[in-house]
Amino acid sequence: MINRILTWLADGAHWHGDDGILRRVVEHLEYSLTALLIASLIAIPLGLYIGHTGRGRFLVVNAVGAARAIPSLGLLFLAVLWLGPKLSGDIAFLAPTGLVLVVLAIPSILSGAYAGVEGVDPAARDAAIGMGMRGTEVLRHVEFPCALPLILSGIRSAMLQIIATATIAAVVSLGGLGRFLIDGLAVRDTPQTASGAVLVAVLALIVDLVLALIQRLVVSPGLTGRYGKVSLMDAETEATSPAPALQHSV
């Protein structure tokens, strides 16, 4: 089987053209990054606000737990069947699918941002206030940088969720690498299905590694303990957490 996958992957004809691997990878990344961006724009400010003010905590903790229980496949079909007929053309499939990708990505990012701000050492916050910083300054210069590891882990788990959901969204005729899996299953073309599965797994892995690298680069060295001898191992282990604030689920 491994050989048949390798043969399929080695065939140059499968890589190029409108339904080639390269085109599908670009599509998959386009959908995923767009959804991630929109979800981040909604969830990060909201999470920071909730963490900073403490308002609506109950709502976030419960919403995040409940959202995890919603099956993505069911939500996808519901969205397409409900919203699809109200729209026309390509957008009839793209908009509901995109909406589902964003909706599923929000909880992880939201809980990361909220838990990150809430978990900031109160001494650091007090010191900032003592130095004369105002509310938004504290948020910008102290709380946000300190919360960054958890915000980014939230983004990482959201991205994994998006990539996985975008894969199954091929069943509602979205492009991307999921096409190889769904089309392969439909016509029982095992080499194509299996190669698609391998490609998706590799894509998810690479994207996660890139995000982990970004996390390492942008998080202040003072937090990760890579700077000086201060052992903040806890900060570092939190920074690599696949899903932050998991304990908060319902």
Binding site: I70, L73, I163, A197, V200, L205
Partner: protein, 215 residues
């Protein structure tokens, strides 16, 4: 809801399938994660290795894993065992870290006291460290349970029957009722799993209630 009345038997059958496919991996995953979590805690050098290793498993999208497993294991694609194994992998991926962190949450002086009282390593682990780590492990288990229930439904795409089959069935006929019933049943099932774990945790950690009562 008329649809549900006519198909109650089918829905119950699929629910039982779903409970099996999501529940068994939870128990298997916990059993496998315990020794790995202990290793990660006992030998600190292994911690990052095990956490990163299991974390990588978690990055594999579910549909891809469902498709790859039969090829790697030589099983038939419709064999429900593929789903059980895939879900076990995800559970282990989530729990190794939780178990390690849970064991790490046991205060050092408690371990020292146990050692001073003559507890050897295995007995200390079974009767002191593990029970005290239960609250943390249970929190991780609840997350794994809820996400298992949700992920299992993706297996409908490879034709393994469970509540997710209602989604594909409804979508193929452009009929909302089965999908709504399926989603509702999934969410209720996740809630049931969650309550069960909460209840079990409550039973095995009587000291947590004792502490609260005396305060």
């Amino acid at each position: 809801m008329i649809w549900l009345r006519g198909h109650l038997g089918d829905v119950l059958g699929l629910t039982v399938q779903h409970i099996y496919l999501a529940g068994v991996p939870l128990l298997l995953g916990l059993l496998i994660a315990l020794p790995f979590g202990w290793l990660a805690r006992r030998y600190r050098g292994l911690y990052p290795l095990l956490i990163i290793g299991t974390g990588l498993l978690y990055t594999i999208p579910s549909l891809a894993l469902f498709i790859m497993l039969p090829l790697l294991l030589g099983t038939k694609i419709l064999d429900p065992n593929n789903v059980v194994i895939a879900m076990t992998i995800y559970t282990v991926a989530l729990l190794v870290r939780t178990v390690a962190d849970g064991l790490g949450s046991v205060p050092d002086e408690v371990n020292q006291a146990a050692t001073a009282m003559g507890y050897r390593r295995v007995r200390r682990f079974m009767s002191v460290e593990l029970p005290l780590a239960v609250p943390v492990i249970s929190a991780g288990l609840r997350v794994a349970a809820v996400s298992n229930v949700s992920i299992v439904s993706v297996a409908a795409l490879i034709g393994v029957p469970q509540l997710g089959s209602l989604f594909t069935d409804g979508f193929n006929r452009a009929f909302l009722d089965p999908i709504v019933v399926g989603v509702t049943a999934c969410v209720l099932l996740a809630l049931l799993f969650d309550m069960t774990i909460l209840g079990a945790t409550h039973l095995v950690t009587p000291w947590q209630r004792a502490g609260k009562a005396s305060v």
